[in-house]
Symmetry: C5
Subunit: 361 residues, 5 copies
């Protein structure tokens, strides 16, 4: 039942949106007003702006962290890294849109901030953000499970499609079909969204349940924590969006904005941090088991998990040095050692005998 807000942007609300709306239209039970049409006090305005900016800065810091630590994860678990990087990058950009939208959406009149026609942009960018980042969060989780090959590709496809449709149907209900205050439409799309929400939960929980017994106890514990954090975080969103049904006003609008900022940081930074630790731990386990090498030592909280290693020296296939050792025209003084180089060109560097000779002396 993720996003099931049922606003009613009455035509009056639209035409008279430039003046503060204090009386709540409550003829129909399901008739609600969009939270962004409520005027804010000075305190509410600065508090909302504060949380929008620090959430944006935190997500940006999360992006910088992910980028800087990208070498800590083996190439096997890189899809989790890529998803996390995209999540933080996209969310940072969305918060730029939100902050600009919030700054432009309110007019300062006396000691209140009155929303203008652009106030919809204090909420809509959130849905645009989620449409891209929620599917990526499912990828992030699945990438550190033990599914592999076609299995993981199928699970990713189902989870991405399901979570996109979950957000998209919520968006349709809120901004497209439910915008005329028709409560039945809102309930319909809310219900459809909920179906997808349950579906995605099932896909993810099944994948995690399959993985837990196969992983080491440490990895399994972290994976379980990460899953719980993600799925519980997702419960916040519908809870927040029920608010407009029974409450309206600047205080509630501020509550919604602040809660969503906190939830975004928890889910995107907190969950991402746990997944990063799972990926590091599993990389270290692969190194210790000899399944892979990693070019730097893996440390978690100052405890070394695996040593740095370098791969074995590879001897190319016999004829892999495609190019015949071609004669080289005199290059005069272009490089100081030209004469020596010419001499050497007669003993191709690729002949194994030659090398063996040098070594076995």
């Amino acid at each position: 039942m993720f996003p099931r807000p049922v606003y009613r942007v009455t035509t009056a609300g639209i035409s008279s949106r430039s003046s503060p709306r204090k009386a709540r239209n409550s003829v129909l039970i399901a008739a609600t007003s969009a939270p962004w049409t409520a005027p804010l006090t000075e305190s509410q305005h600065i508090l909302t702006l504060y949380f929008l900016v620090i959430a944006g800065l935190a997500l940006f810091a999360g992006f910088v962290r992910t980028w800087t630590t990208r070498s800590e994860v083996g190439s096997r678990f890189r899809p989790a890294l890529v998803a996390r990087l995209c999540v933080t990058a996209v969310a940072s950009l969305s918060y730029v849109l939100l902050i600009v939208g919030f700054t432009l959406a309110y007019d300062h009149t006396g000691s209140t901030w009155v929303p203008n026609a652009g106030a919809i942009m204090t909420m809509a960018p959130r849905f645009m953000d989620w449409s891209v980042t929620v599917p990526l969060l499912t990828v992030e989780l699945l990438a550190v499970c033990t599914l592999f090959g076609a299995g993981v590709r199928k699970a990713q496809f189902l989870a991405m499609a399901g979570s996109f449709l979950m957000i998209f149907t919520g968006f349709l209900g809120t901004f497209v079909f439910g915008a005329d205050g028709d409560a039945s439409q809102l309930y319909l799309w809310g219900a459809i969204s909920s179906v997808f929400w349950i579906f995605v939960n099932v896909v993810l929980i099944r994948a995690v349940r399959k993985s837990l017994p196969v992983l080491t106890p440490e990895s399994a514990g972290l994976l379980r924590d990460a899953t719980i954090l993600l799925l519980c975080g997702w419960v916040i969103y519908p809870l927040v969006y029920i608010i407009p049904i029974f409450a309206f006003g600047g205080g509630w609008t501020t509550t919604i904005q602040v809660t969503l900022c906190v939830a975004d940081v928890l889910v995107k930074i907190g969950f991402g941090g746990l997944i990063h630790r799972v990926a590091k731990l599993r990389t270290a386990e692969d190194v210790r088991a000899g399944d892979d090498v990693h070019s730097e030592a893996i440390w978690i909280s100052s405890v070394k998990q695996s040593d740095a290693g370098q791969p074995r020296e590879i001897y190319l296939a016999e004829g892999a040095a495609v190019h015949p050792n071609r004669w080289r025209p005199p290059t005069s003084s272009a490089y100081a050692s030209a004469i020596a180089a010419e001499d050497d060109s007669s003993t191709p560097i690729d002949s194994d005998e030659n090398l063996g000779e040098r070594r076995s002396h």
Copy 2:
């Protein structure tokens, strides 16, 4: 038959563009109106904006993904990587132009959004984007085929030139010669564009057909899928652009925008993802065959395809240490081990005897 739209921006349409246009001028069969001159409802406006933004964010995420995974592809297939990186970068920038253009193009009047003089910029940036990205998409496909040397350069040149001319002639018909509603011009340029479209298809299909029997079954299967996705994706565009011939209105304009957003994401992200997998698979095959080394293990969907390797240690040509081992003036206490270093400077590190001695003890 790629872009053959036949709009007629009647002079009336231009002079009275600032007021909502509801009646469709249908005196001539071929006379059409540009889709960007139709007013939008609230729902259509927010829905179009939603798709523009999420397509832009998805393309940006595609750019981040390509950049982060660039080490997974061997240097042989790097041209595919470069093309994909440029495609996603250029498309992301174009969507910024589109979103800014869309935001500025409509004036909010009551409950409708009326297009103003800048509305052409809700469509024109798409052609600018395609003029650069469509030729790069052909490069991306050809770079993982088995053509090589002058052959691949010729195929790339033909495909790039053909696909640029396909877009450019479509642009000429739509915005330059066909802008005065002259249907014959529109049909003419549409036909020319179609010729280039067929030509590019032929070039690409021939290259792929030559490659399939030479590749391993897995690579060949993926390459076939990628080709089908690309060429089918390209069919969407002319289908969408036929719409203005027989329909006009906000609903159709929204349909066009949404479909093009979806098609762009499918072709640029979906196709790019498949090509990335082909390139990884072929890199792994080269490693397994001993044709190349790769510094990290290649994993696809948690299945290891090849081990990490490091190249053989290279002994430079005899005299390659160009610089004579020069005497070094006393550097006093600049480095703590100055005295030791001086001692050592008499035994040049490059003399093979010296090294052999240390080793063979």
Copy 3:
């Protein structure tokens, strides 16, 4: 007692903020006026702008420095690096907000600059910045202490939560609850903030005290210096914020801004530089003790601390080459050495006997 400013933005102050305010409302002892409501002279305006811009540029230069030297620190101490990178990145962005805010906040009237309604944005971005960067500064310090495992994670959680609440309660007192000039609220929130300030100090000092006897004398000395610089730097902020209680005017506003700029640079760049040296030194000690390898030599002020090393060549687990050495279809002339490669494919590169043979000749 970190930020305990007690402003009183009188309702008169709010309603008449657009005209220069010269008379100070001093009926109540605790009644204060926000420093951003004072008009500035030409000199004060250019001097403040000068310090805002050079502090912003210095923080940006600090970001560039951190980014460029990121390879100098071992993976064990990377959390310190990440924190420093995020601190400088977030602070740079905040100074962009501050500079834009400052430029827009004053109107040029005759030879004075009169603050307008947006003048709050010359101070509020500082609290947004600190809410993210102060917790990260505690991470930076803890990451080079000798705590490890769950211990370091607990200390980081406590220090981050405590320092965030320290800033957040200061923000609540200044901008939300204390904005109506109610002195009791201001003292209340100032006191709560102070409690968190003391708590964070205790957490950090305990961690450092535990580390000092375990570290080498050099590392311990630098760590002690860094801790003193950080904690003394944090004392400046409340000192500065006491100013509004007993003084108001353009001169004092300029003093506040300049002092905060200098303090930000000292704490974020100066402290960060010391931590970087500790991290380098401890990395070098790990290399010398054989606990880790580092791919480049570590030099501090032109004195070499440890040699470059490369990790041991790793032999993968027996069966780690997952892929059976598959037969490869003829690839014709795609690669020049195709025939040779085929021949070689029968002798798998992973068989140890084969390798041993080549070597032991």
Copy 4:
């Protein structure tokens, strides 16, 4: 004879620039009007914008390509890479200026676009771009010739100074001294510019001629092609700039803009691509000759030119491990292996005997 345009911005032209200028002032033979003062039709406006944007996107894609392929060129030829990177970066930025300038420079009046006072910025950014990029193009060419040491530094200095003066004198003639329509000034500066143009040609051709016999036939062929493309591309510019002498109007202005866009892409992307191939080929030749090692295999169009190699393991000078193996205070449980590490610290890892022992067993 590179840029010798002879415009005459008549004082009338300046004062009445805000109204469309249709009549051409042709009293004096040499009196010309600046092309940016001509009004454009709808078609001309959108066509020019199209070419400006796609040229900008193509140059940006060229920058992305250069950046992504920077590891393909050996450190010897890196100056060519750096020059190419700077050329594409600077040109991309200039096209941003040009596009913004073009968007602001014309007012939409009926169905024509009338240039306003800012129209000079549709042309001036080109000269600013060229002042930086043309000298860099000469560096790019010289860096893959066979000059070395002081010789190449002298040639670079002469070519950079000459080409900067070529552009600068052209700029002086066009925008500074010739702006008052004084034809004699225009011819004078055009002639001076031509002298520098010939001088730069001589410097470059001499360097290339010296290189050709020394290079391998393949490299020499590519270098010859690149030189021809560059020098022929440079001929386009003066040809285009002769236009204003005998023609004026929107059509000609569009022709000038489109041709310059095409020429910029040809010279900066086409020439750069050829130089990249020369640099790769010469790097591969150095590897094959044993003059250098390169960490990845070099492939050109799917043909392998040289194998990946890694440098010989270096033994540092005897006493190079500056730091005496210092005693390390007990580090308790900071690292799990503390006890083992202490034991080991008595056997310094740098002593050769120790190592020899381990090896020679």
Copy 5:
């Protein structure tokens, strides 16, 4: 005696700044007018803009160059690299401010450009830039001298503090205390600034003089050239700033701007290039002497200075593999080689005996 300009912004000048000022107030000998209050002709305006933009582009190209060549300098001389990177980054940003400031600072009235209230921003950003970059330039020079340890840290502190105070006192005199035309203040601050100027010169020259006899002749020659270029470049600035004392007008303002652009490019790009060569040469000397290894060959102007090398393989301390070789739960089919991996896990990869066995066969 670096910046000693003595402007007098008369109160009349400030109040009537919006109209062109032609008469120069010359009652007092020392009374001067700020150069940014002079109106410019068309030619002067475009010429100044031209130099601002190309200087900005050149500094940006310098940033790109420094970034791309950062691997050419050993970690010992990285502080020089970091300083150069910060200098070019900060200067590029400042020129963006300058160009924006210049564009907004003049109103187009007839054929002259009249400065408005924002004209101070055509000069002030230069002082902000210098406050950060001049101290960094001293770091750049000291980093390639032979000072080390506490010595270099002390010299850096003195030179940075001195050069910051040199700029800051100049700024105080020009924009803060001397802005009211009080000549005695101007001379006072000019004299203080000169004292710091001399102090910094002494610090730098002493460090260079100490280094010259210790360096190789080549390095010493380059270091001497770089020092001369820097210190002579610094002489230009006070010379330019004397101009306002005896001259006023658009021509002189243009002269000042152009000269400062040229000086900035010379000092920041020219000096930086020489320092880069010194750092490369000294890195190569360290490699040849066996004091360090460098992963790529160092070439200067196509002459090889040192070979690529890789560090010795490091054997970790006995117990350095912290983690006990833990038992691993069955991972089923998650990785294809699971069974083999389990078998192997009983023979820990870290045991030296095991390895020795494999080797000594």
